[in-house]
Amino acid sequence: MSYSKKTEDKVLWQAFKRGDETAFAELYKRYMGLLFSYGKKISGDEQAVEDGIQDLFIDLWQSRSRLGDVETARFYLFSSLRRKLIHTLRQDKLPADNLDHTEEWKLPVSPAHESALINAEIADFQTASLQDRLKQLPLRQYEVLMLYYYHGFSYTQISDMMSINEQSVRNLQHRGLQKLRQLITWAVVSLFLFNFL
């Protein structure tokens, strides 16, 4: 049986559980890129992400007969990868504790860059790309925004994935969005022109 981009995840998942390799390959194709990208944000160590994704899919295949009908394949894949990576981070004694317990752990930003942002010079905002601004967000705010808006997970799912309560997810999302809006306000006009004209 062959599957197209349109085939629902649920269908793929059930076929894969029956041992259908084509369905398994399609799941990989569909999620590998997104998982990799997400993993790189969580871990920063590309090799760890490669290993994590590899293990994830191997585990998936080997335990397929024991797997239930998951709510969404997407959720299962993302949360499993996150668990694996956090576990590896812990082992490596990287700042995983920060990642999990501190609200505002930031992606590394040079002090100069940071103070420039605080000074909020208009010129600075206009030249920096929006992507750069995204990177100014604390990692956990960023993660919640990404999971919530881009990948379309619910608060409940995100709270499950990140092992924090739903209110914390809402707070992170709210603060993240606030901050992002502040950051982009300056650039909106030029970006709009760029995109529409």
Binding site: M32, Q54, H87, Q131, Y150, L177, V188, F192
Partner: protein, 364 residues
């Protein structure tokens, strides 16, 4: 989205959550209708909000794409996955970059064996006891053939399982956890390097710990001893009965008795004693020709030390004036030493894991 809800939809959050909006921004090609352009035309005052939401989505999208895997990573990872989909892990090796760094160690363990089944692979009672205690599901490979059997472990480490031998290991070496195998009989290990995931061989009363390396494990039913031989790299060995065994296993460093190239360790089951010495025929770690012309003996010794990874002990002051001319190539190390000693009218002996050279010294 209900048409009458449109007017109230003023906030970025709601826009971002709206699937049709997301599709419109992120998959413009497949966006079927002109809903959002219409919307903007009808509610121009909503424009700033739409722009904000749009730029946030685009930025997120850009960030995701920026971190996508390369096509090469995409293919390689799937190949690795496929490799493991159909096997109990006896398969050809697909080596990742990280694993190419593996050092080489030869480690021979001679372990007392008790033949429980004649004609079949004998199983050490230690082995059975160890395996019984393991909580995770284990895979077992048994070699009943007269030839070595290649076994690929879940981490792509290779084991050449010798005849009349068996090995057990977890189906998966979960990342972060220890890699542990249980051996009865003989095997050559080529262990992939994972500094964070030490590799343990449990054989008889000995635990051998390596961080990434290759080595032999041999068990000899005829004697009651364990012998560990290292070719290159480093391993640490400790007795299971050692009160600090748990701690030494957990530690990142190699503790216990650390063996370096060409050293061997003999463990006697009877008096629970470990004796470190040199292997019967040390192999050079670095292959090189030794050509010396009126060279100071100290220099000669130090190049041998480097080539074989062995310490040579001698009285530097006494031998300071000794010069040597020799070309040494294929002779075994002990033969080389014999020649050198002949030149300086001395002799050598092996004490512990070192070579001690004694000579009278040379006149000016």
């Amino acid at each position: 989205m209900a048409a009458n809800g449109i007017a109230e939809m003023v906030n970025v959050d709601e826009l971002l959550k709206n699937e049709s909006f997301r599709d419109w921004v992120l998959k413009p090609a497949s966006a079927s209708d002109a809903y959002w352009p219409d919307f903007m035309a009808r509610y121009p005052d909503q424009q700033p909000v739409i722009d904000q939401a749009r730029s946030i989505l685009l930025a997120l999208d850009h960030d995701v794409r920026e971190n996508h895997p390369t096509p090469e990573q995409y293919t390689r990872i799937y190949a690795n996955i496929q490799d493991r989909m159909h096997t109990a892990p006896v398969r050809t090796l697909a080596i990742g970059r990280r694993w190419l760094i593996a050092a080489t160690v030869v480690l021979c363990l001679g372990v007392a064996l008790y033949r429980l089944f004649s004609g079949k692979s004998p199983v050490s009672p230690h082995y059975s006891a160890l395996v019984d205690r393991v909580e995770v599901a284990l895979l077992e490979n048994v070699n009943d053939t007269p030839k070595p059997l290649k076994v690929v472990l879940p981490d792509k480490s290779i084991v050449w399982l010798q005849p009349e031998s068996r090995i057990s290991y977890a189906k998966n070496f979960t990342s972060g956890a220890k890699r542990e195998v249980y051996l009865s009989g003989n095997a050559f290990f080529d262990i992939t390097k994972h500094p964070d995931q030490p590799f343990f061989v449990y054989a008889d009363e000995l635990i051998t710990k390596v961080l990434g390396t290759s080595f032999w494990v041999k068990t000899n039913p005829a004697n009651d001893r364990v012998v560990v031989e290292v070719k290159t790299g480093k391993v640490s060995v400790f007795a299971r009965s050692d009160s600090r065994a748990g701690q030494m296993q957990a530690n990142r460093e190699l503790e216990g008795v650390v063996l370096t190239p060409n050293q061997q360790l003999t463990f006697s089951n009877l008096d629970v004693r470990m004796k470190k010495s040199l292997v019967a025929n040390p192999e050079p770690v670095i292959n090189q020709e030794f050509a010396f012309r009126d060279e100071r003996v100290a220099t000669v010794f130090s190049s041998l030390e480097q080539a074989y990874g062995i310490d040579i002990i001698y009285d530097e002051d006494l031998l300071a004036n000794c010069l040597l001319t020799a070309t040494l190539t294929d002779e075994p190390l002990y033969e080389k030493l014999k020649l050198i000693c002949k030149g300086i009218e001395g002799h050598y002996e092996i004490v512990d894991a070192q070579i001690v050279v004694t000579a009278k010294g040379c006149q000016e």
